[in-house]
């Protein structure tokens, strides 16, 4: 998200493609591309943190968990609609992000990475202890009867079809993308970039580094929270620990790295990489089983990093400069 939105024509093309796709793909593949949409939102959020404020996190899966559980609990206890559940997930995850961002101010580099890694491992374990509220190992099941405030005829999470999910995910993605663009082109975005490029210069210029770094955590967490809620919706409204393992946090990081810094297409590529690749590689006939899939996925991740150090965005930038030359 450099200061301009991507060219209107490419946006329009993308929108059309996305709109048409569910009618062309099989039900399962529609589901998969819907998952890509969910990853898009999460990686977009993580990108704001790492790309724009320069802080690293290997724990944003925890915020997805927080968002997901919030949505499910809201539905279970208060019978909220999808939209309200998502809004709550956004809000609660935002607050959680702020709470994490504050102590994170004291850490940097590898220590911050390890601390967020610790979060990624610890938070999903909480449900096991707090079984009453958080459902233990069985998880939290959303209600199948939401009230119709703001409902507009939306089905309950328990009854979402793959097409509904696809639409919901990508619509949310579009809204949040525009939101991110708006934030990043304004004062907040400039402050973020200042903090990333030189903390010392920022302080000297009067930018309150602490405020913006914490805000970065908050916003990125909120985005992941919404993604988490969508993930729960995809599981028929059931939130469980198994969905939010450490692997998820690692996948987000990989997706962000593959994406490179802040271009729409980069983030799409990153989301596609993480959302589709593991599923696709298990269908490669040479190594048919799950472990073969891991081998291929791991090898591909390494290959991408070796060949595309700037991520997909770097590749695009290079292509663009080649075309101009």
């Amino acid at each position: 998200m450099r200061n301009r939105l991507p060219a209107p024509t490419s946006c329009a093309v993308l929108a059309v493609v996305l709109a048409v796709l569910p009618f062309l793909l099989s039900d399962y593949n529609t589901f998969l591309v819907g998952q890509v949409g969910i990853f898009f939102i999460a990686i977009l959020g993580l990108n704001i943190l790492t790309g724009y404020t320069g802080q690293i996190s290997i724990g944003h899966g925890a915020f997805m968990a927080i968002g997901g559980y919030t949505a499910a609990i809201m539905s279970r206890d208060h019978h909220t609609t999808l939209i309200v559940s998502m809004l709550m997930a956004f809000a609660v995850a935002f607050v959680a992000g702020l709470l994490v961002g504050l102590p994170a101010l004291r850490l940097s580099g590898a220590y911050l990475a390890l601390a967020t890694f610790a979060l990624a491992i610890s938070i999903p374990q909480l449900p096991k202890q707090w079984t009453n509220f958080l459902g233990g190992t069985l998880g939290v099941q959303s209600s199948s009867k939401p009230t119709h405030l703001l409902g507009f005829g939306f089905p309950a999470a328990t009854a979402l079809s793959n097409r509904w999910l696809y639409g919901l995910a990508w619509a949310t993605a579009a809204v949040l993308f525009v939101g991110a663009w708006a934030i990043l082109r304004g004062r907040v975005g400039r402050a973020f970039r200042a903090v990333r490029d030189s903390e010392i210069a920022s302080v000297a210029s009067g930018v309150e580094v602490g405020v913006y770094k914490t805000l970065g955590f908050g916003i990125s967490a909120a985005y992941c929270g919404v993604a988490g809620a969508l993930l729960v919706f995809a599981q028929f409204g059931a939130a469980s620990q198994g969905q939010f393992t450490v692997v998820l946090s690692l996948e987000l990081l990989i997706g962000a790295a593959v994406a490179g810094l802040g271009s729409l297409w980069g983030i799409l590529a990153g989301a596609a990489f993480v959302g589709l690749l593991p599923k696709i590689s298990s269908s490669v006939p040479v190594v048919g089983n799950e472990h073969g899939r891991d081998v291929i996925y791991g090898a591909l991740v390494i290959l991408v990093m070796l060949v595309l150090p700037g991520g997909f965005a770097g590749l695009l930038a290079r292509l663009r400069s080649l075309i101009r030359a």
Partner: protein, 327 residues
Amino acid sequence: MARLKAANPGQLVTFALIVGGAIFLLVGSLDSTNFAKFTVEGVAQGMVYGSLALALVLIYQATHVINFAQGELAMLTTFIAYQLTQWGLSYWEAFPATVAIAFLIGMVLQVTVIRPVQHRSVIATVIVTVGLFTLIDGIVNWKWGESGFLTLPSAFGFGSWDVGGVLIFRFYVGTVVVVLASLVVVWVLFRFTKLGLAMRAAALRPASASLAGVRVDAMLAIGWGLAAALGAVAGLMNEASPFSSLDPTFMQSVLVFAFAAAALGGLESPVGAVVGGLAIGVLQTLLIGYVPQISTELQIPFSFALILIVLVVKPTGLFGSRQVVRV
């Protein structure tokens, strides 16, 4: 003594904590045989964590990269040891062979996969290690995953000694001795040999080391080899207990605890890594022993909660020094 006078408050607190902790353990062990049993077990387990944590710190010190694949590498080499014993070698023949093979694998990995990315960005390198994690995990599962219940031949036998009512298994002592020996070897290497000095120089200031004639890239490769070798020791010693079986996930929790140990001790401090490992090992066994409400699943988050608290108070770990930011 002069060093103590020059210590800053943070270092004094750390020192006090360690001395206090040691006294606590000693007194407790003399007082209760259960406590002693837990302490001994914790020390043995802690040495394993410390060994892997040291491997992490070695690589971090030289490159500022956290090698996410360190645990899986250790697991791979342990399975290689298993394969060697299946092909007829005795345990104590397979042990040095495995360590040597691990060294080679570490070096090869650094040269082929890490070197091309390392000068570009730390994040890219870390992602490569994450990819390695998945790759190696897949390879091990592919080759040995479906083989069912596997065990290594026993390293130290099943014997035990009765020391004042406390049952001390031979493999506890064996583990401690082996890991200690490897740590001493590494220490001697770094402090007294030309190669060790060159490696330290390459880690501290690669540009200056280069000007002195040190081939920095080669030093990094050796560093990775050494880390892999330490990991091999950790993996083998983790499996030295006759109660453990060789399954492809066994190093994942060890890795997590090793991370915790390295962060606790301070990522730049080899001593901190080992002390951190011991601390976590002992805390873990004491907790399991005395507070049964904390189930095994909670150990990991618990140790990380501990790390988070330490890091907030001392952002560079117990043995870390305050980071100076150059303007």
